[in-house]
């Protein structure tokens, strides 16, 4: 099993890494405004090369303006390194890389689109009856009670899987030179088949749930005009969001919502996962 970890690209690249980590992830997964500059990336990649640490550039969804900036970042990395991995959250960037034979393209967590709502674990468990039985009124006037019914095995499989895990999709991706996909360590567990030549990276502990185009302001107000150039953007905002009755705590980091789950899947050794990516450090904690 390979171990990688996220680093904050604003560091100078000399920060200590765990001994078993020989690969770092850097960039930004959800916002093109928060990608490193060419200069920052150039400096960092030289330092990491000296330390014999491999680089995986993580990129978000991209507008035409954003994708042009990512082309420059890739050129910069290729001027320093022999091989570079690029995690693509955007079909356009993925297409650019496969058409031009550049780098090693990887399908991101945003494209693998797991269902990451932590409440899905409630669907799996025969719930203890709630303290108060939940009642609803039917349109025909009947007072009804809600009762739990267990999911079918197909539904369980759906919630634990990803749409990527289909024969024709994986065959297509492999035929285009793509061999890896990133996934989150979701609370409901993971079920994926082993397909020759195809593997997954498991991100632990932060599970990515939902992404916004822009951040709310510092007061978490969504009704103020978005300002991507405000000073708060570059601070890497992290705020706890508490949803009553949710089985986990959420936090907003920049323009995305996450929850945290440290426990690895019980069936990890049976999964086609050959890389664990620790995404703990990047959150400015």
């Amino acid at each position: 099993m390979e171990h990688a970890c996220w680093i904050d690209y604003r560091q100078d690249g000399s920060l200590p890494l765990p001994e078993h980590v020989k690969r770092v992830y850097l960039g930004h997964e959800t916002c093109q405004e928060r990608l490193p500059s060419v200069d920052e990336l150039h400096r960092l990649s030289k330092t990491l090369k000296r330390r014999d640490v491999s680089i995986t550039l993580v990129t978000p969804f991209l507008t035409n303006e954003g994708i042009t900036r990512v082309y420059q970042l890739i050129d910069c990395l290729l001027s320093v390194l022999d091989t570079v991995e690029v995690v693509c959250s955007d079909w356009g960037l993925l297409y650019y890389l496969i058409e031009n034979g550049l780098c090693t393209p990887i399908i991101s967590r945003l494209l693998s689109s797991q269902l990451t709502d932590p409440r899905i674990i409630r669907v799996f468990q025969s719930m203890q009856p709630p303290a108060e039985v939940k009642k609803v009124q039917h349109i025909d006037g009947a007072q009804c009670v809600l009762k739990y019914t267990p999911p079918s095995s197909d539904l369980v499989s759906h919630y634990r899987s990803s749409w990527i895990d289909k024969d024709n999709v994986i065959a297509y991706l492999i035929s285009r030179g793509i061999y890896r996909c990133e996934i989150s360590n979701v609370a409901q567990g993971v079920e994926l088949r082993t397909v020759k030549g195809w593997s997954y990276s498991l991100h632990v502990p932060d599970v990515l749930v939902a992404v916004m185009r822009r951040c709310p302001d510092e007061r978490e107000d969504f009704n103020t005009p978005p300002d991507c150039l405000s000073g708060t953007c570059l601070k890497g905002i992290r705020k706890r969001w508490h949803f009553p009755n949710f089985p986990v705590e959420f936090f907003r980091c920049d323009n995305a919502l996450y929850y945290r789950r440290h426990t690895l899947p019980e069936n990890l050794t049976l999964l086609p996962v050959n890389r664990i990516v620790s995404n703990y450090k990047v959150r400015n904690e």
């Binding site: 954003g66 990451t116 999911p151 197909d154 499989s157 969504f222 009755n245």
Partner: protein
Amino acid sequence: MSKRIGDARIVAPVCSLDDALGSIEAGADELYCGVMFDDWIERFGEADLISRRQGRYSHISSKDELQGIVNLTMDAGKKIGLTLNVQYCRSQYNLVLDLIRMWEDMGGHYVIVSDIGILLELQGMHSGLIKHLSLMAGVFNSMSVAFFREFNISRVVLPRDLTVEEMKSIHSASGDMEFECLVINQKCQFIDSMCGFHHNLTLSDDMVVDTQYNIVPGCVEPVIYTHDPMYEGHGCKLCYETKDGKVHHIYNNDFLYPHCAACLLAELCDAGVSFFKIAGRAYPTDIIVRSIRFIKKACSILTSHKHPPPASVAMDIQQLYSQTFDIPCDNTRCYYLMA
């Protein structure tokens, strides 16, 4: 007079024969719908796993009604699309492919999809259905358009999160691809294609539901079975609390205060958008009909002026919004930013 806005087409959602009749009468040029039949519900429940809408009520649930809607649409000389716009796992695959075959046999015109596996299958089965790429595919740049062109996509539904300038930039580098965007109702803070929340049926004690119930021996009251009796609602509709104890709400009541892009229709046309989509499958028929008429009227106001229209035209459209929805136009409800 703006020439292109006169060519723009309105695409409206339908969930029943009544919706289809109302939408066609109101002036919709194309219709779209989803299906959720009993065999699907038995295996996968009523969450948004067949299209990005939960519940039987957001879909057409009988084949006869579906055929009736297709026939009605064809008789009216319009087109209708089937929304299969989420991504499917292996156990759902064959059911979805069967639906596509059924849709083609019924005379449906196009499918709205985002799953590359489905697109590959459509190529393999030599389907004559036209393929539209859903906003669930998340096309934010022209290189993504080029990628999906390889799957013979003829139209791209653009994400609700782009600015008009960004749409223009995509269109200008995308040749003859058709572009569609949402222009009224429903806009979430989360990007459609990047939301991992579970959208199930919300069954709460402050609302009347029409979900099927069962009379169970030994139970005094009728029972509604659900996979999650505690389900609180969509992630985007919930209140949350921050560390300082403040309670916030992500969602705005779109039902009564629809998001709207009517003032920007001319700019959207300039940006290459030719199809204006009405959001809101499962909205009451009268809201859909009002939305179609409103967008149609806004188009006629814009076509009656030289392009670019004077500022007074935006005010006329804002007034029309107030009259139509009985609330003042409010710039926090604008669908798109210009840049």
